[in-house]
């Protein structure tokens, strides 16, 4: 059974199929394209479930691709190596799940260029899986850069017949902003990787870029600090950490709904994963020095963006800012540098991915029917969309940390972890201050729920339909995930608590 599983197949299958989908060989019929893509994502999800079922934490999946019997670039010590350990496994599962539900969500949001859209979606999945499973710094960087191309097209592309041209221009500008910000981050990150590569060679004597070799090297402390800061700027753009966040609200607001779900659900997590893989694991000495400062940034993320989110009137912007706030919580969990903190932040990655997928889906459904996302214009739509209202209430309640939903567990665990961090008082301070500020999240979330669903129903919304089957599947599956992980958190925690 184990012989059937292949890591390169898991990672490169979407890539190969995306090339097939975009090639002239494949049909232009949109229904066929959509169903084919959905079934590919479904198959991929099943395949990753199979991988999870056969996963043995003591014995992670490792696979190296050889080119004519050699490493990829032997002269630089780059091996095309992939490795799935516990955290990678969880994130791979999450990726494949979010892509599956976003392909379901695509049905009503994507009206044009189906072939191109689905091939870019598949390409993006490959790139993100590559990031989560890379066992070598340069391979990680390769996928980190590769992800820019599909992400650019997905955010900025013209996927439906827009009424006004300005919306298309806005989408394109925010795509450029996203690409430039990410590229800036990745260039600074590249500097860090180059230095890490070189100093690993100096101290270890092996020309290698794989994480296993770098973990064992003794790099001087001051150099480690420089490298850590370079890498943190790179990941901080993606995460995002506060001064580097300005691309996010624009990109999330102007992208089509399924793309927003992927951006907030998965793409942001690549930043957190990078911090875990590089700073937390590899440069652990420097991370103890840097963690208190980083915790301050995390606290600013949580506080500042929660206030900003409260001031927004566009539903998507509220969700986008709440994402930044939640990513601050994930960062705080990592900064605690203990097992609870790590599991809490991985748990929150999953929980937050589910929540944002649900919330962006709700925003998309509302926009599709009412042609507006402004909470001041919306009112009383609960009477015409009772089922959507039910889902919205439950997901909003989940997002503000009500028990029995997943975010409750991770928020509590994060606070406990940072109170337990005994190497610095800053962490305790951050924990104490982030706790009451979580209340603000309930303020803006309930404000959104209240303003758009309650109240008088204006005349123009009277003929609005309730959700369709596709949308029901997406919302129900996210909600199911939230409830399952909220009631049985041990499912996930058992996998992460064993990690150091």
């Amino acid at each position: 059974m184990e012989k059937l599983l292949s890591l390169p197949f898991l990672i490169f299958m979407p890539l190969v199929i995306s090339m097939f989908v975009i090639s002239p060989l494949f049909t232009r019929n949109e229904i066929v394209v959509r169903r084919f893509a959905k079934s590919v994502f479904g198959f991929h999800f099943l395949y990753s479930i199979l991988m999870l079922a056969l996963f043995d934490p003591a014995n992670p999946y490792i696979s190296q691709i050889h080119f004519f019997g050699l490493d990829w670039v032997q002269s630089m010590g780059i091996k095309f190596i992939f490795k799935i350990d516990n955290i990678s496994m969880i994130l791979v599962m999450l990726t494949s799940f979010v892509f599956l539900i976003s392909s379901f969500a695509s049905k009503f949001n994507i009206r044009e260029n189906h072939k191109f859209y689905y091939s870019m979606l598949l390409l993006l999945e490959s790139a993100i899986l590559g990031i989560f499973t890379a066992g070598d710094m340069f391979v990680f960087f390769l996928f980190w850069e590769l992800e820019l191309i599909p992400a650019y097209f997905l955010i900025g592309g013209k996927w439906k017949n827009l009424e006004n041209e300005s919306e298309a221009i806005k989408a394109q500008n925010s795509a450029i902003k996203f690409v430039l910000f990410t590229f800036l981050g990745s260039m600074v990150m590249l500097l860090g990787i180059l230095l890490l590569h070189y100093y690993n060679f100096i101290s270890n004597g092996i020309l290698s870029a794989s994480f296993v070799d770098i973990n064992s090297s003794q790099i001087p402390a001051n150099i480690q600090n420089i490298i850590s800061v370079c890498l943190l700027i790179g990941f901080g753009v993606k995460l995002p950490i506060i001064p580097l966040h300005t691309w996010l609200p624009d990109a999330h607001t102007n992208a089509p709904t399924p793309v927003s779900m992927i951006l907030a659900g998965i793409l942001l997590k690549t930043g957190a994963y990078g911090i875990f893989r590089f700073n937390y694991q590899t440069l652990s000495d420097a991370f103890i020095t840097i963690a208190p400062y980083l915790a301050v940034f995390a606290l600013i993320n949580i506080i500042y963006t929660a206030f900003v989110a409260y001031a927004q009137t566009d539903i998507k912007r509220i969700v986008a800012y709440s994402s930044i706030s939640n990513m601050g919580l994930i960062l705080l969990g990592l900064c605690a540098i203990n097992q609870i903190g790590l599991s809490a932040s991985v748990f929150h990655m999953v929980a937050h991915a589910l929540i944002t997928c649900g919330l962006f889906m709700i925003a998309g459904i509302v926009y599709l029917r009412c042609k507006t996302r402004d909470i001041n214009t919306l009112s009383g739509i609960a009477t015409v969309m009772p089922r959507l209202f039910g889902f919205a209430t439950l997901i909003v309640l989940a997002s503000i940390g009500i028990p029995a939903f997943a975010p409750f567990v991770s928020e509590i665990l994060t606070i406990i972890a940072s109170l337990n961090a005994d190497f610095s008082d800053v962490l305790k301070f951050a924990a104490v201050f982030s706790l009451p500020l979580l209340i603000i999240s309930s303020c803006y979330m309930l404000k959104f729920l209240h303003k758009s669903f309650y109240g008088e129903l204006p005349q123009e919304f009277e003929k609005v339909n309730d959700i369709t089957v596709h949308e029901f599947i997406v919302l129900a599956s996210t909600l199911a995930g939230l409830v399952i992980f909220g009631i049985f958190p041990q499912v996930l925690l058992s996998m992460t608590l064993s990690m150091g």
Binding site: F143, L184, V188, L191
Partner: protein, 477 residues
């Protein structure tokens, strides 16, 4: 003497013979036979590539009283120059159709440029080097001016003036060096410099020599010609101009930096400063340009500066990265100019005039976009590997260069912006009522574009063999 001739000069002689043949044909044939000019050049260059196999390289071969030399390094550069020349000759179809009467002369001048470039690489003597540089430069003046209109003549004249000044600087430096060492031969100078204490006079002469030569690369002190020349010249000439002089000049500059001019710390300092200033100027200037040719002019200047930065921190490892980068870079650049050659009927070359071309011809525009992404350093192109490999060289040269490297990396973000500016209109959909000028590629243009794009992709996927080759050559210099 005759032995020397047969041992290293056969490729050069073949090119020289075809120059004379082209000139004879230009007088003998009537203008209506213009279309065979390209064929003659292509045959000449192919013959020269075949004759490269006769060149003696092990370990090094000196000829004509040590004024010419050959080793594996010169062989590789000769090969690259000839390949680029071959592609350029293929691309010149549209251009020689417009200058029918002068088609053969144009091809003769093109071959002259290739001849000069090959001689620059083989030079082991400042006199030979000077003459070869002049052969290359004079042919480029004519090639630039051969395009129709006033603008090309102005560009050519501007280039001529800049080159004249830089040549003066170069000769001044050579005369100082002759005064210090009493020789013009590179090997002799290297031997005599090694036993002397480094003096300030030596550094000044080294700086003048290198600054004089690198004007052809559009590096800082003599960079102002590049945008006018690129705007004015014809696209097939640009394919020549952005690859062959670059290969030749970097080839000789790296050799000079490794051997006779290696003893000067000040030179390194000046070159690092020059490349940083160029990178800054070129990348910032390109932001507000809307002409594709002008943007590419800035991009060549910027790319030269990255390579110069790595080359100036002399080490064998850096040399291998420089060779690899050049190899990848010329392929991407030829591909880009091959596409512009297909579109050369769009006279204004504004980025907006390329709107919606992707929906006209997926394959060719895809290959072009791929090459532009390669210049920007996005995977899976060879540009990605080349950039990483080049920057590993700078990162491993010492912590002091890390801030400069950071500046270069941030400038790459600016570069991505203007590359996106070229790319974006290609994928925009036009309104139905706007008429799009359709692409009318001919076989040779398609061939060059696709072949170079495929090379870019293949090196991007599996670079190991090429990197090994570059390392082998760098370690054998």
């Amino acid at each position: 003497m005759l032995k020397d001739l047969f041992n290293i000069l056969l490729p050069h002689i073949s090119i020289a013979g075809f120059i004379i043949l082209q000139l004879v044909l230009s007088m003998a044939l009537s203008p209506r036979f213009y279309r065979y000019a390209r064929l003659v050049s292509a045959i000449g260059i192919s013959l020269s590539i075949i004759l490269l196999s006769t060149v003696q390289t092990e370990p090094q071969y000196f000829a004509f009283r040590d004024s010419l030399m050959s080793d594996s390094y010169t062989l590789l550069f000769d090969f690259l120059i000839l390949v680029c020349g071959f592609f350029t000759a293929l691309l010149s179809r549209n251009h020689i159709r417009t200058i029918k009467a002068n088609a053969y002369t144009f091809q003769a001048v093109l071959l002259c440029g290739i001849f000069g470039a090959m001689n620059i690489i083989s030079a082991n003597d400042f006199l030979t080097l000077f003459v070869s540089i002049e052969i290359l430069s004079f042919s480029t003046y004519f090639l630039i001016a051969s395009a129709k209109g006033y603008y090309s003549k102005e560009a050519s004249f501007k280039y001529l003036l800049t080159s004249a000044v830089s040549t003066g600087v170069f000769l001044f430096g050579v005369s100082y060096l002759y005064g210090i060492t009493g020789s013009l031969n590179l090997s002799v100078i290297y031997e005599r410099i090694m036993i002397q204490e480094p003096s300030i006079m030596y550094s000044i002469s080294a700086i003048m020599i290198v600054l004089g030569i690198i004007s052809k690369l559009a590096l800082f002190p003599f960079a102002n010609w590049v945008i006018d020349v690129y705007k004015g010249a014809e696209t097939s000439v640009l394919a020549f101009l952005s690859t062959i002089p670059k290969l030749a000049i970097f080839g000789i500059v790296c050799r000079l930096l490794v051997f006779p001019l290696s003893n000067s710390f000040e030179l390194t300092f000046v070159l690092v400063a020059a490349s940083l200033i160029t990178a800054f100027w070129a990348n910032i200037y390109a932001i507000r340009e809307n002409n594709v040719k002008a943007i590419l002019a800035c991009s060549t200047a910027a790319n030269s500066s990255y390579v110069m930065f790595a080359a100036s921190l002399v080490s064998v490892y850096n040399l291998s990265t420089v060779i690899f980068y050049l190899l990848c870079y010329v392929m991407m650049n030829i591909s880009v100019f091959a596409f512009l050659n297909i579109c050369s009927d769009r006279h204004d070359m504004n980025v907006k005039s390329f709107k919606g071309l992707f929906y006209n011809n997926h394959g060719l525009v895809g290959a072009y976009a791929f090459s532009i992404l390669g210049l920007a350093g996005i995977p899976v192109t060879s540009g990605f590997i080349a950039k990483i490999y080049l920057f590993t060289a700078i990162a491993s040269s010492g912590l002091i260069f890390v801030p400069f490297l950071l500046i270069l990396l941030i400038l790459m973000v600016v570069a991505l912006y203007y590359y996106l500016k070229i790319l974006m209109p290609l994928f925009e959909k036009c309104d139905k009522n706007v008429e799009v000028t359709l692409l009318k590629p001919v076989f040779s243009q398609k061939f060059v574009l696709v072949i170079t794009a495929i090379i870019t992709l293949l090196i991007g996927i599996y670079p190991e063999k090429i990197i090994e080759l570059c390392r082998f050559i760098a370690y054998n210099i």
